[in-house]
Symmetry: C2
């Protein structure tokens, strides 16, 4: 008997991200084609789960979905379109994940069936998680309806829900089988939600693509005025950069390095402190501002470049500080947040900073005193280049 | 804006299956070496979860584990060794999965920490599931303690728990980071548990390896008499064949073909009907007997070869029929089971049959009348070659 067997294999994932307008209008061939091209021996079932916030703003959507699939023989739409709470609410208990699993059982949905989630990042995360664990994985289609979900979370491979106040404490890595980005959904977002998703584009531009950063700078006013063509390109390029990153190295994050978490260590803390009153993208803008100023204070980044980042956020209508990040004497929330992030990563602390516009650099320690100094500068609105 | 982005990437998994005796004896270097070779920047934590049935038969095991890790600086054993119910009980509610997730939270176990499960296939399935979803995946080590878990489920990539009476209704595909097969655990199994694990070896031999089948035939008496050397080889070869199969094609079962489920469609039904009184391996022996006789009745397999299979099970002390599979007038449990399996697979029904010893063949339909005829033959103990 040999004392050891070495096992090794790879699993390949492929999925397309489609960009369209009016996904469920009768003339739009995309979804119909998707199902007919994938048709195997049996017609698969399709369960649609819809974000309540989206349903409210698009009252005839459910009917349109029924109409759309009526003449599509390659897929069998389940009559019940499931409405679930939107926003962090759906992730804060497992009630809705349970409802989906129960529906999977009741409708006899199998591993060759599909579950489509239509909604913001929170609904995609929760429905994606339910889809990943029911029958050890039902094919999952994402239709993101916010800027953030269309340019970031919707193309990603992570899902999950919260547990006793801890973000994404349970979840899996499991890619969708397709993503459909429909820009018409964005029309019903309020201004805060519209703006907040842009910070993920600023993030990925800052660490990977100077030209894209300059493009965002040049189009900041039109983004603020909600120009759809400009937003289309922003989402497309941001999605592309995210996707390249995921495919490039360590898609399931077995290592410690998580470059796409630039600006996120303090953002997570702020979201949590605010009870998710501060939107993810707003918190990320503040987190990026903090790590950008820190990069300047520690002589990695030219102060003029740091100032460009702050100016851009202001033009976009995004915050760069929040009172909840003020110290109150004893332990500073930012230092607590840093420790929590270290614990969350496990192993070694790895944080992305900037050494130029478009050039991220990873470090393994932050200097606490200078973190607080960066925060104080943001709070006071100090002009970095003065 | 281009209307589509095509995403593609692969995720590679590597893990070793170690064969040893006395994993936690002070002289055994395996586990110590495992952790010191993998040491990164921070010392990882290790949570051990132990099958209550194993703990009962190995009362000093917990103490030995503490002793073993006392002088291992490359890993930080968490003081609490968690005892969980053994057998199907642990899979029939999510209570114990919740307990593990709660422990992950309480002990600050992160994605670079380890959760080790020591136990039968049921405990490995439930602990593996908890490990896969907590923090989107904590490194999972398996120490299987039954024949079935050492030669089959322990090396696999599947985990899960049951849901409203349905086997493995929630779960994930997620490989362990290492498997340690310790043959001393097998000494405390009762004769039924010992014998039942052998049927998975017969299964994989029948569909893939005629020489291995002949080896099992030649060693059936010694297996029955619980000869450890013979069992060591049986487990090693069976594990090897399972691992090759998993690595060879479609490890996460995206398609419909599941050759390793030979004999399992009726086995699942029988386990369920018996409230899991019939052991998995016993049910599999019966399921294999059924599909073997069916293969003969449908002229795929020589009746003499079918008879060899039945004779082998009898020599090994394994059943080839169970009264719960008798018809009772209206719907026959086997026909119900077949429909449930079809639904479970989704898409196309795919069932493995035999066209020779060591040569499986997939079919997409079973003839109901001949399924019942095969069952009747087994019930009456008909001699196939007479
Ligand atoms: N999985 C990942 O990789 C990943 C990455 C980043 C963020 N996230 C998660 O995404 C979530 C945030 O997602 P989000 O920013 O998309 O917001 P959200 O999902 O929290 O939604 C915010 C609100 O907008 C509503 N809404 C959604 N679409 C709408 C539309 N078209 N019109 C009007 N209202 C609409 C929702 O009902 C909700 O009330 C967080 O839970 C975050 O953790 C996940
Ligand atoms: N994940 C997979 O790929 C896969 C494959 C096959 C089977 N399974 C699952 O495995 C389970 C069956 O596993 P099993 O056959 O190992 O039995 P088991 O886990 O059900 O255990 C049976 C009993 O034996 C006890 N036990 C375990 N080890 C012992 C030892 N060394 N000495 C004395 N008692 C011991 C347990 O406490 C339990 O009471 C089923 O739930 C089945 O679905 C999973
Ligand atoms: Zn983000
Ligand atoms: Zn089995």
């Amino acid at each position: 008997m040999k004392p050891i067997i070495k096992q090794q294999f790879s699993v390949t994932y492929r999925y397309d991200i489609h960009f369209t307008a009016g996904l469920f209008t009768p003339e739009n061939p995309l979804l119909g084609r998707f199902f007919s091209e994938r048709l195997e021996d049996a017609v698969p079932k399709l369960l649609v789960v819809l974000d309540e916030g989206v349903a409210k703003h698009h009252p005839i959507l459910a009917e349109r979905i029924h109409d759309y699939f009526r003449d599509k023989p390659a897929v069998d739409l389940i009559g019940e379109i499931m409405i679930v709470p939107g926003g962090e609410l759906i992730k804060n208990s497992r009630e809705n994940v349970d409802r989906i699993i129960e529906a999977v059982d009741r409708h006899g949905i199998d591993r060759h069936s599909y579950i489509m989630a239509i909604g913001g990042g929170a609904v995609l995360d929760a429905v994606g998680y339910a889809s990943a664990i029911a029958h050890r994985g039902i094919r999952h289609i994402r239709v993101p309806t916010t800027v953030l979900a269309q340019n970031d979370s919707g193309m990603g491979v992570k899902n999950g829900i919260n547990y006793s106040g801890k973000k994404n404490f349970v979840g899996t890595f499991s890619p969708p089988v397709a993503v459909f980005n429909d820009n018409l959904f964005l029309l019903t977002l309020n201004d805060r939600a519209w703006a907040s998703g842009i910070s993920e584009a600023v993030k990925v531009a800052l660490i990977k693509d100077a030209a894209f950063f300059e493009w965002i700078e040049a189009h900041a006013d039109r983004l603020r005025r909600r120009d759809s063509d400009v937003m289309d390109y922003l989402i497309f390029r941001c999605a592309e950069l995210h996707l390249q990153h995921i495919a490039g190295a360590d898609p399931f994050e077995f290592g410690s390095s998580r470059p796409l978490d630039f600006g996120h260590w303090s953002a997570h803390k702020l979201e949590q402190l605010s009870g998710f009153e501060v939107l993810h993208g707003e918190a990320v803008a503040i987190g990026i501002a903090l790590d950008t100023v820190y990069s300047a204070i520690t002589d990695r980044l030219h102060p003029g470049d740091a100032q460009r980042v702050l100016t851009l956020f202001q033009k976009l209508g995004l915050p760069i500080f929040h009172p909840l990040l003020e110290g109150n004497g004893t332990t500073h929330p930012l230092l607590t947040g840093l420790e929590e992030f270290r614990e969350h990563l496990g192993g070694r602390l790895t944080i992305m900073l900037l050494q130029g516009i478009g050039r991220g650099v990873e470090v393994h320690e932050l200097d606490k005193e200078r973190v607080l100094r960066a925060a104080a500068a943001l709070q006071e609105g100090v002009n970095l280049v003065s």
